[in-house]
């Protein structure tokens, strides 16, 4: 079975400051890694994903994430946040067993950007 731990439930940060949202995972098999964002009262939108290759993955809206196999981590970063980045961020994993496996989510991190 897989599990995902997002270490921070809430992260407040000032506008234009850098931010890192932490994600660790546990799995007995290799997994694909994802970050989704949920804006208030909306559905989930994919930010970025990682399968293999370069451990630094770039996504939409200036976000990037780095895969660290030894630490089983996939932390999300942005060098300078905007007010519009205020949202809930979910880290998720998925086993590569087939195209209809579900996502296993962490409990989310609420990013609040302060003006």
């Amino acid at each position: 079975a897989q599990s995902v731990t997002q270490l921070d439930s809430q992260v407040p940060v000032f506008e234009e400051a850098p931010v890192e949202l932490r994600c660790n995972y546990s799995s007995s098999v290799s997994v694909y890694l994802f970050w989704y964002v949920q804006y208030p009262n909306q559905g989930l939108q994919l930010l970025l994903k990682y399968l293999s290759g370069s451990t630094l993955v770039k996504g939409i809206n200036g976000f990037e994430a780095e895969f660290n196999k030894s630490q089983t981590s996939f932390h999300l970063r942005k060098p300078s946040v905007h007010i519009s980045d205020t949202a809930e961020y979910f880290c998720a994993v998925r086993t590569p067993l087939g195209g209809n496996t579900p996502l296993v989510f962490g409990k989310g991190t609420r990013l609040s950007v302060i003006a």
């Binding site: 694909y32 989704y36 909306q42 559905g43 989930l44 939108q45 994919l46 994903k49 399968l51 809930e88 979910f90 998925r94 086993t95 590569p96 067993l97 087939g98 195209g99 209809n100 496996t101 579900p102 996502l103 296993v104 989510f105 409990k107 989310g108 609420r110």
Partner: protein, 115 residues
């Protein structure tokens, strides 16, 4: 054009009632999912269907019955609603071919409140 749509967006009902949530996707995907997001924002898979066939049923009470009339639709019927069913229900879809690396697209969610 909305890729994954759900109706209704809000649903308020009394305990003991039966209700349905509808989901439609126009992406040509062959796998559809229902996820439940509880009051603490935790997202968990409930069901997945591939080509109208049930693939995953994650220890969900029998009161929940998904129905897939065709590949583009996955409806969720809930009998004898209980207070603990109050949550946001998200429908999602993905393409099976190409494997688990494919993005899952989420609907806007249905907020169910049981009084």
């Amino acid at each position: 054009d909305t890729a994954v749509s759900q109706t209704p967006k809000y649903l308020v009902t009394q305990m003991g009632n039966d209700k349905s949530i509808k989901c439609e996707q126009n992406l040509g995907h062959d796998t559809m999912y229902w996820y439940k997001q509880d009051s603490k924002k935790f997202l968990k898979i409930m069901f997945s269907y591939n080509n109208k066939e049930l693939i995953i049923n994650e220890t969900v009470p029998n009161r929940f019955s998904p129905k897939s009339p065709d590949k583009a639709h996955l409806n969720l019927h809930i009998n004898s609603l209980e207070l603990g069913d109050s949550a946001v229900y998200f429908c999602a879809s993905s393409r099976t071919s190409g494997g688990a690396y494919n993005e899952q697209f989420f609907g806007p969610g249905t907020r169910l409140t049981v009084l």
